[in-house]
């Protein structure tokens, strides 16, 4: 289990290797990589800036990572989330889950991403090509995606 909030980019392939090196008990590794899209709601995006709450954000990510490990038989999990100014095409977030079973690896990665996209303490500001920047509003459809995990049995 590991959580990192960092300004630097990450390397999905290297993270998989680190998580699985020398192990022969893992059968399934799922990764989710989130990237900055060049448009949002039909508008062009020049930059996306992510702010977070140092201390609280990491603690929340560790809590949800522990919850995923309690719900599914996982052998390794990793959450990496970037902050600062990002450009279209840049990586934002990485989730890696490893399990003997592919369903557990898929479901736990989706669970973690639903949380990260809706409940994790990050705030997003998007600037258009004209430099005009706005904070992004919270989205309801994402909350619905997270709600479906509430009370869900393994």
């Amino acid at each position: 289990m590991a959580v990192r909030v960092q300004r630097e980019d990450f390397d999905t392939g290297a993270e998989i290797k680190r998580l699985t090196a020398g192990r022969t008990d893992i059968g399934a590794i799922v990764t989710f990589t989130g990237t900055v899209r060049g448009t949002a709601g039909g508008q062009g995006i020049a930059t996306m800036t992510l702010e977070y709450y140092p201390g609280m954000t990491e603690a929340e990510l560790e809590r949800v990572e522990a919850e995923a490990n309690a719900r599914w038989p996982l052998q390794g999990t990793l959450i990496v989330h970037r902050f600062g100014e990002l450009a279209p095409g840049d990586n934002i977030v990485l989730v890696v889950t490893a399990s003997p079973h592919r369903q557990a690896a898929f479901q736990s990665a989706e669970f973690l991403m639903d949380y990260l996209k809706t409940r994790a303490p990050f705030w997003k500001k998007e600037a258009g090509p004209d430099g005009k920047a706005d904070w992004v509003d919270a989205r309801e459809s994402d909350d619905a995606a997270t709600a479906r995990w509430a009370g869900k049995a393994q």
Binding site: A59, V93, W123
Partner: protein, 84 residues
Amino acid sequence: MVKIVYFAWVRERIGKAEETVDLPAGIATIADLVGWLRARGPEYANAFAKPELVRAAIDQTHVKPAASIAGAREIAFFPPVTGG
């Protein structure tokens, strides 16, 4: 003395990321604190113009407006999170 931290547009409107304040007696809850902050100046009034849009945390744990701030070391105000 309690440290207050602000994030995203709450921070931008107030014009500072954090401050340490001496609270008068009678400020018992998050809602009390929001009321006190709003009276400190137009930048605060602007940040808390719609208090229902501002979330709070005490010592890095989400809390409701009715939560007691007794013993708090760090109180945070921020918009609803927008994820990654």
